[in-house]
């Protein structure tokens, strides 16, 4: 296998896979309360069995998790469009109903700081977070992929994207940030295998009289385009997300960061789509680089 390290003739970190998944808080509650085999939840969790095996076999050294904060660590006082968690540890937040009973999230400050510096010099002026409580946006994807271990199997670098205050960054900006993350990871002089998670979505609206909106046609087209026609997916305007995927469906721009961090051509290892989890259409992809 040709690796980034052997191509360059030196040791470097590399991105070995991409995960896209919804991060619905009710999924976390179902896991924490032991309801994953209930009739309502079983079909959803069934779709993550293969993914848990995939990530266990892959055994990554670091996970970069692109997620959004839901009025937890960031309020309206400070609204960074992109914030990168560079701390040693990220505490689990109480979001208003008590903290999830999951292990604290350990960071990877060496790689995180390297990425932060590399991104800023690459003209992505992100915010550096040295203290960051993480909410369901980050912990639910970890639970879906890693189950319920006593400690998470690898360090995590949180990349928090504003999607609460309109406008979030464009899909194109997110995709290009992913490209810059790929460059940053590959310029880190340590043999680390990195997985990138893009989380949130798919179609859902939590607010007002149109709450409960689901658009399976939009979602499935988005899954196809994200995998095979990323140039089309990254051109989707905000209005289309808001109208077609619901006001909270715009979280899907975060999947484009993950997609941008992979090669132009990818292999789709696994796909899962399920309606509903509470108010939300759940989508999930496992992708690997399809290197020549």
């Amino acid at each position: 296998m040709v690796t980034a390290a052997s191509r360059n003739g030196r040791v470097s970190a590399k991105i070995v896979g991409g995960v896209a998944t919804s991060h619905v808080p009710a999924i976390g509650a179902a896991i924490d309360q032991g309801k994953t085999t209930d009739d309502y939840w079983a079909p959803l969790f069934k779709g993550f069995e293969k993914s848990q095996k995939w990530v266990k076999d892959l055994n990554p050294d670091v996970a970069i998790v692109v997620y959004n904060d839901h009025a937890t660590a960031f309020s309206l006082e400070l609204i960074p469009t992109f914030a990168l968690g560079c701390a040693e540890e990220f505490p689990i937040a109480d979001e208003g109903w008590g903290a999830r009973p999951v292990p604290p999230v350990c960071g990877h400050p060496d790689l995180a700081w390297h990425i932060a510096q590399s991104l800023i010099l690459d003209e992505f002026d992100l915010t550096i977070a040295n203290r960051l409580e993480v909410d369901h946006g980050l912990t639910v994807p970890l639970s879906l992929l890693f189950g319920q271990p006593a400690r998470w199997p690898c360090p995590v670098i949180p990349l928090c994207v504003n999607v609460v205050q309109y406008p979030p960054p464009t899909g194109n900006r997110c995709y290009n940030l992913g490209k810059a993350i790929q460059r940053a990871v590959e310029s880190f002089d340590e043999d680390l295998r990195v997985v990138v998670f893009g989380t949130g979505g798919m179609s859902h609206q939590l607010q007002a009289e149109r709450a409960g909106l689901i658009n399976s046609e939009f979602d499935n087209r988005f899954l196809d385009d994200l995998v095979n026609r990323p140039d089309k997916a990254r051109a989707i305007p905000h209005l289309e997300y808001l109208r077609e995927a619901g006001s909270e469906g715009i979280e899907l721009v975060m999947w484009l960061v993950m997609r941008g961090a992979l090669s132009k051509k990818v292999r789709e290892i696994h796909r899962h789509y399920h309606v509903p989890a509470s108010n939300t259409a759940v989508g999930h992809l496992i992708l690997e680089n399809d290197l020549p």
Binding site: Y40, T72, G96, L206, E244
Partner: protein, 132 residues
Amino acid sequence: MTLSNDYQDIPGTYVFDAKHSRLGYHLNMFCMSLRHAENRDAFKANEISYLEQFTMSQEQRDAVLGRQWNDMLRLGGNIYYTSKLAATDGLTFQDLAAIMTGSSREQYRKMMVNGGRPIDGNRSKSEWTRER
């Protein structure tokens, strides 16, 4: 450059843009305070006096005290913030969605299990005025 706000044509939806964010700043910061258990307890002990700490309009206060969830959104509330008030009341996101759409919990849950609210007929305000 003129910023487009064509999203205002989406029915039953408040896009949390600059206008909303400015209008709802103190309302949302009140909701944010409920992230801490001791604040939840203080609020539950005396809602009116707790709210006095926040420079909210009377309309916003009334919406909070009366749990008028859609009014809170109209007055600048954001769902991720107002959901913290809902959580204080022991409501889940799905309970809250049922209330905001004028459905019973069971009706709403059934709609979701059957595939959710369809997109057809729900794209534009013109489609809602025609039907209602």
